[in-house]
Symmetry: C2
Subunit: 294 residues, 2 copies
């Protein structure tokens, strides 16, 4: 065995990296969505395509993917039997299928103890101690994902309509949002009929911006969101010296707002999820293979 | 003109009542959905069918609907130009198209000053003073309908998952709910993927029941919901002597929990929305017609 594969797949696309067995990345390749929960066959095809493209990009024969062991981090791999189903049909020499959060954790903090908080359109946490990692949160927009961009945007529209009805105080931000919807609450409702989490999440940076400028409604929403993040961090049992990485589009907005005890743990992520998959492949397959080949 | 029509139409069905011009109901008729926002043509057909059935049930020639003036209360009539579009194609002698909330208000409190709070799967309020009525709330499950059964059910699942993650306290109720979902948070998430507001609302009576027995999580959810109801009632500018009617499936659960100043205004509803449409028709068309015929 000369090469290992790291693969990062999700609902919007699939990325692969081919690396030497000590984890030096040689080249990358990309393809379409790899959603194992909704379309396993197409997910497999895109995973293989991304891997072949990475080999071609590295100037290697793409048929060599069959000789390479792979670590795959895939959204939905933690649910049901999708992981086992996929493993059975992959063409790689060996396949280890992890959740997307697991390879993001590995990419961000490496192999040691620590945690990630993914704060983007959704929100999710993962903590590792003594080699064992566990997820916290990440249950989706409707009944989870507290402090996510989507939840913040939804809170904003709710507060805007309450202000419109005279039930809660209005603010410069709620007035600005009403103007976006032509001062017609029915237009807000029409928006919500088709809105996806990402559509709500589009309002989140504006809420942080107005909160920083003292807008009362924005501050209430952001204060609640920060409390929700700290509540989840509290459930991670972090200790002094642990690494904590904030990931996702809102990471930079939350970092300065956290309590000092959490700010003290913050680190820049070492790498992204794809790098995490590569590193895990080097850790899991690189040494074993060496021992086996020796 | 000998007869008047009252019509109550919505997404699940359409009811009509034929009455003498002083508002004495002679007979009723029903038909299918009358959703003017999604299918105006079919809504018109069901409205006409319900009216004809009411006349037949009363032993009258159904062709007489063309000589009868009608008040229609229809979900969605307060939005866009649906009201005007429908009015232009109705076969009745004259048609007055109101929102479903307006005829519910008329049915509950009659023609005077007062308000209704509709507390069921959704929530909405309507207040009338000096003959002018206005809506408050009712903006739907995603960004409105505070204190509705759907919102209470959604809150319960959210608190249950937070307890499952160790972020918030568990309670007998959250443990009972986790057992419903086979102690698997992923099963909760699967439920939310397809759940409609009514599906969430199914949990609401259980939350009130556990709150009454002291369950900490249930009490927090119900306390918040009661505060939301009182917040909306506060925006109605109710005065001593005003009539306040609680309608909807949760009315009886909320009534004893409201602050004394609101409990003092509570009245049993005089009649339902269909009766409201008939009464409004008698008020609007009965006297005018008499004067015109005389």
């Amino acid at each position: 065995m000369d090469f290992i594969l790291g693969i990062d797949g999700g609902g919007t696309g699939c990325r692969a990296a081919v690396a030497t067995r000590d984890g030096q990345v040689l080249a990358r390749g990309g393809s379409g969505a790899a959603n194992i929960r909704t379309d396993l066959t197409s997910a497999r095809a895109h995973i293989v395509e991304a891997a072949r493209r990475a080999f071609i990009e590295a100037g290697k024969d793409p048929e060599l993917i069959k000789a390479a062991p792979a670590v795959l981090g895939l959204a939905g791999a933690n649910v049901g039997t999708y992981r086992q189903q996929l493993r059975a049909i992959l063409p790689f020499r060996e396949s280890r299928v992890e959740s997307d959060a697991e390879i993001a954790l590995e990419g961000a903090i490496g192999a040691g103890d620590g945690a990630i908080a993914v704060l983007g359109t959704g929100s999710a946490y993962r903590v590792r101690r003594g080699g064992v990692s566990r997820p916290v949160g990440g249950w989706g927009f409707q009944v989870g994902d507290q402090a996510s961009g989507a939840r913040i945007g939804r809170d904003l529209l709710e507060q805007t309509l309450l202000a419109c009805d005279g039930i809660c105080e209005a603010s410069p931000l709620t007035r600005e949002i009403m103007a976006v919807f032509r001062d017609n609450p029915e237009d807000v409702v029409e928006f919500t009929v088709a809105a996806k989490p990402g559509d709500y999440g589009g309002f989140a940076p504006k809420v942080f911006d107005h909160a920083a400028r003292g807008d009362a409604v924005a501050r209430r929403i952001v204060d609640k969101a920060v409390a929700d993040v700290e509540g989840a961090l509290g459930a991670l049992d972090l200790r002094e010296g642990d690494a904590l990485c904030l990931l996702g589009g809102l990471a930079g907005l939350y970092a300065p707002l956290l309590a000092p005890r959490y700010r003290a743990l913050l680190r820049e992520p070492k790498g992204d999820a794809l790098i995490g998959a590569v590193r895990m492949a080097a850790r899991v397959f690189g040494h074993d293979a060496e021992a086996g080949d020796g």
